[in-house]
Amino acid sequence: MTAVEETTSLSGNLSKTPRASWILPALAYMSRTCLIEKEVEFKIIPIDILEGEQKSPEFLKLQPFGVAPVMQDGDYSLYESRAIMRYYSEKYKSQGTDLLGKTLEENGLAEQWLETEGQNYHPPIYNLILHLLFHPKLGLPVDDKIVKESEEKLEKVLDIYEERLSKSKYLAGEFFSLADLSHLPFTHYLVNDIGRAYLIRNRKHVSAWWDDITSRESWKKVLQL
């Protein structure tokens, strides 16, 4: 197994400090869950978001947008969580869970729903987490208009998911894929930290899907890291 280093905003140590305990490692959770599914060992290197370490010249060389996470694999580095996941899923195709689908068609559907997450699900859920979890802790105002609009948008997407998941066990079909995995981190915050569990629980098939994907060993391990 190859050792991969992940530079991210959370480590086991940092999470115990009061200031850093609420730092959102959501995007790092995505790539970590993927690595565990693929049975790839990795080491987490914490950076202090509050100290602005992600804007240091050394970090910006790795990630010019100044955003965690970044993966380093020997002398090769990669950023953007979904790109990291796609790379490791492809590199370690023959080990662990097949997250990309077995045929060209299955892969097409996995990509379709992963893009759906990135384009349709992520923007409104990110706004909800930002305003309802982050802003209060940072002393920033909560924009009720954005919260209302984001929740409405997310509800429309979830209605589509409900319809889809009434026909197949997972988003891309009868197989767990990157498309399902990419929903784990932010939905975890939605359900557990901002009192919006009803958005998931009010939808029978979405709720069953959520229980299924959160019961995976990889996700349970990531939450303990």
Partner: protein, 219 residues
């Protein structure tokens, strides 16, 4: 049976798929689509794409939506013809990952930064709205920061993923074409490496076909 593409060439997301089709010289049928009569909200279309937006690709039993998933599928299916825009040939996994990285950057940074500007300038007036100058101004500030990263990147390599044209560059075509038809051309032309990159990728034969497809019939 030829591929069927439901969409409108003037739409940035349809044009993204067209660019890929032209690069690979794929036989396809463009199915005429009428947004004005709400064709995208009809049950028969929503059955193909529950989000009710174009483009949609039909390839025999497979129906796909999301333009970036469609382009990835087409490049994998037709990897033996035309240029290797995903670096799928054996041993090029790291190059493939760099293509993946810069397609994500386009998806998560570049297009979200350009969308509000282009929407307010091109599309709001068509809906009887006055362009929101604050949205445009805020959008330009954000977009400039993204372009600064691109300028730095393109000073190190000819194209985004490396010294080869790839899907990552192609995905930028349609939004940037609109930008070059807006008052904010200087955002591109004032950055020498971004400018050179744009001139290079937009002058490819397939890209010129996209320009033509995205040119309205009447002025």
């Amino acid at each position: 049976m030829a591929l069927k593409l439901y969409g409108i060439p003037m739409s940035t997301c349809t044009a993204r798929v067209l660019a890929c089709i032209y690069e690979k010289n794929i036989q396809f049928q463009l199915v005429p689509f009428n947004l004005a009569v709400g064709e995208h909200k009809q049950p028969s279309f929503v059955a193909k794409n529950p989000f009710g937006v174009i483009p949609v690709l039909e390839d025999e039993d497979l129906t796909l939506f999301e333009s970036r998933a469609i382009t990835a599928y087409l490049l994998k299916k037709y990897k033996e013809q035309g240029e290797d825009l995903l670096r799928l040939k054996e041993g090029n996994l790291k190059e493939e990952a760099m293509v993946g990285l810069w397609t994500e950057v386009e998806s998560q940074q570049y297009s979200p930064a350009t969308t509000p500007i282009l929407y307010e300038y091109f599309f709001a007036p068509r809906r009887g709205k006055i362009p929101d100058q604050k949205v445009i101004e805020d959008g330009i500030v954000k977009f400039q920061k993204v372009l600064d990263v691109y300028e730095s990147r393109l000073s190190q390599s000819k194209y985004l993923a490396g010294d080869f044209y790839s899907l990552a560059d192609l995905h930028h075509l349609s939004f940037t074409l609109y930008l070059m038809r807006s008052p904010w051309v200087s955002l591109i032309s004032s950055r020498p490496h971004v400018k050179a990159w744009w001139e290079c990728i937009s002058s490819r034969p397939a890209s010129l076909k996209v320009v033509q497809a995205m040119t309205p019939a009447e002025k």
